[in-house]
């Protein structure tokens, strides 16, 4: 290809990219930079009172803020529970259903994917009803079975509230990983499985030494997206508990929202955002590293 022709092709390529590039830069790159920049300011977005540069002031304050520490611990509990559970559970379900005939497989796909496509408000309202202190189904069932004597205030008791949130998060998080695992397991080269069987591998050995290695890229993707989703758990908190009772369900994401949009401390909120992004980045990098070593 001549240089002139190549140049012409490059120009038209960039022109095609331009609309999405403008959107990406305007709504993703610039806000990210602004977020980092304003995290060094005492910013309140009020045009009458200019932002004051305070250096690492917001970052220092964060580690002295007990609510932020509590939110960080809660967030790590959510991530620590949901990531391994979602991966293990979705892999188990997928490995059971992926060989089923098409109709049955589609049925299970729908069952597990339904909470993902259903609006989070609708899902949350149903769960709120199930967790209800007076007429919720859980209290009804547990009392009926004689496990509890009096009703439990699931979302109002600091002992249970976070776990209730985690349970909802799990039901809405397993759908996509199951679909991904079903597809990954179906795509494992059957001749590798057969070769291992002929070589003398048991079913478990075939899974662990062949299939598991083949679906590793999917596992890595699931780990990363589940980690990010868990770190960013917000809608459930906002709709069910608003971080309460007594910050028992406070997460970093919700605290960012609360600080920035309720208290108008944008600089402080953005500093939390930066810290959250660093944690997500570190954890994802660690997952990539471990997967690569395997």
């Amino acid at each position: 290809m001549s240089p002139a022709l190549r140049r012409r092709e490059n120009i038209s390529g960039y022109l095609f990219l331009l609309p999405s590039l403008v959107f990406f830069v305007g709504f993703v790159v610039i806000p990210m930079i602004m977020c980092v920049v304003t995290s060094f300011y005492d910013a309140n977005m009020n045009l009458n009172t200019p932002d004051v540069f305070i250096g690492f002031g917001n970052y220092v304050e964060l580690w002295q803020d007990p609510v932020f520490i509590k939110a960080l611990v809660n967030t790590f509990i959510i991530v620590g529970v949901s990531v391994p559970f979602v991966c293990a559970f979705s892999l188990w379900v997928a490995s059971v259903i992926y060989k089923m005939r098409e109709g049955l497989l589609s049925f299970f796909r729908i069952v597990f994917y339904l909470p993902v496509v259903t609006g989070s408000v609708a899902v949350t309202v149903v769960w709120k009803w199930m967790y209800n202190n007076y007429y919720g189904i859980f209290n009804h069932l547990l009392k009926g079975a004689g496990i509890i004597d009096s009703n439990i205030n699931w979302l109002g008791d600091p002992k249970y509230a976070l776990w209730c949130i985690i349970i909802i998060l799990l039901t809405t998080s397993v759908g996509q990983p199951i679909v991904l695992y079903v597809s990954a397991l179906s795509n494992v080269d059957q001749s590798l499985v057969e070769a291992a069987e002929v070589d003398g591998a048991t079913n478990f050995q075939v899974f662990w030494r062949i299939k598991w290695r083949q679906i590793m890229p999917t596992t890595l993707y699931i780990l990363v997206i589940t980690t990010i989703n868990s770190f960013q758990c917000f809608a459930l908190i906002q709709l069910l508990t608003s971080g309460g009772p007594n910050y028992a369900t406070e997460t970093v994401m919700y605290y960012i929202y609360y600080t920035a949009f309720k208290l108008y401390r944008f600089g402080y909120g953005n500093a939390m955002g930066v810290i959250l992004a660093i944690f997500i980045g570190l954890l994802s990098a660690l997952q990539f590293r471990l997967a690569k070593e395997k």
């Binding site: 080269d189 590798l192 291992a196 070589d199 591998a201 030494r209 290695r213 083949q214």
Partner: protein, 385 residues
Amino acid sequence: MSEVKLVGIKKIYDNNVTAVHDFNLEIKDKEFIVLVGPSGCGKSTTLRMVAGLEEISDGQLYIDGRLVNDVAPKDRDIAMVFQSYALYPHMTVYDNMAFALKLRKTPKAEIDKKVREVAEILDITSYLSRKPKALSGGQRQRVAIGRAMVRDPKVFLMDEPLSNLDAKLRNQMRAEIIKLRQRINTTFMYVTHDQTEAMTLGDRIVIMKDGFVNQIGTPKEVFNKPVNLFVAGFIGMPVMNFFDNCKLLKENGVYFAEIRGVRFELSPFQQAALKQNGAESCEIVCGIRPQHITVGEGELTGRVEVSEMLGSEYNIHAVSGEDNVVMVIPTVGLETDVSMGATVNFTTMPELIQLFDKKSGNNLIWFDKESAEKNHPVCKSYDSL
């Protein structure tokens, strides 16, 4: 000792499609058997049933006298080389070859010794630390064979192992397999759709079509004594010429084959065989191999359409009446004009003419229905072929 015996083996899939009909075969210890046939003939399915990767719908499979119908692949003491090589992509060549031995908890030192020994034989020692993706097709093929070899299996199964290689490499690897076979001296079952591979590798060849065994014999037998039109057309390169609308004539107890009005008095052997079979005058299809045609003499004529000079011989494609005829003629001493458009006379020796019944397609000389039914009852279905 590693004999394999297939008795009335059938494969019927869930959708009621029968992939293999009543397959009967006794493979002797250290014999190299090749299953050959077009795509969908059931040869790979048969091999996979022997491997235990496919359930046997009916019949019995014995390996070394033990009924193995319900025995898992890992307990059959077989090794298999797959068409796609099926090398574990996340393992090095060494680990691929050592995998089966590790699963059997073989001591490390012994694994190392065996892997290196086999790698030496296959000339892949320098690739032992590489992953399969860093190897060429031929090298991968060697690793796949090596992986099977380290196990010293009773039976070596190969499912079209050369079909993913280019022509040159395929020829090379074919020679390697012949050498390998002499070295490891075990029982082989080899599946291919390439009749050249079948002819060059097999002690005996099983020719299949539509799930039926058509003929079992040595390469020489299936080439010289094809039992029906399918076998005659499948084995041999270029394929056998078939002349439609020929006649078998019996006059005063003497048999003649009439091709396009030209009579050939059949050889004493053919006369005797036809007499024994009680053949009468009838319409037949005559088959003549391209290598068995002589040009420049005889009464049959053909117009040359394409003339391919291949160095030591000519491949001549001619039209004789309604029939297309291919002739392979040595270039040395050729005095006839075989250029495009030329008309050539040609003939053959009567004993080289194959006579097929027009209705059933069976060879009037070589098809022995009684023996065929005894050895592989599927031949009953020849009438419908």
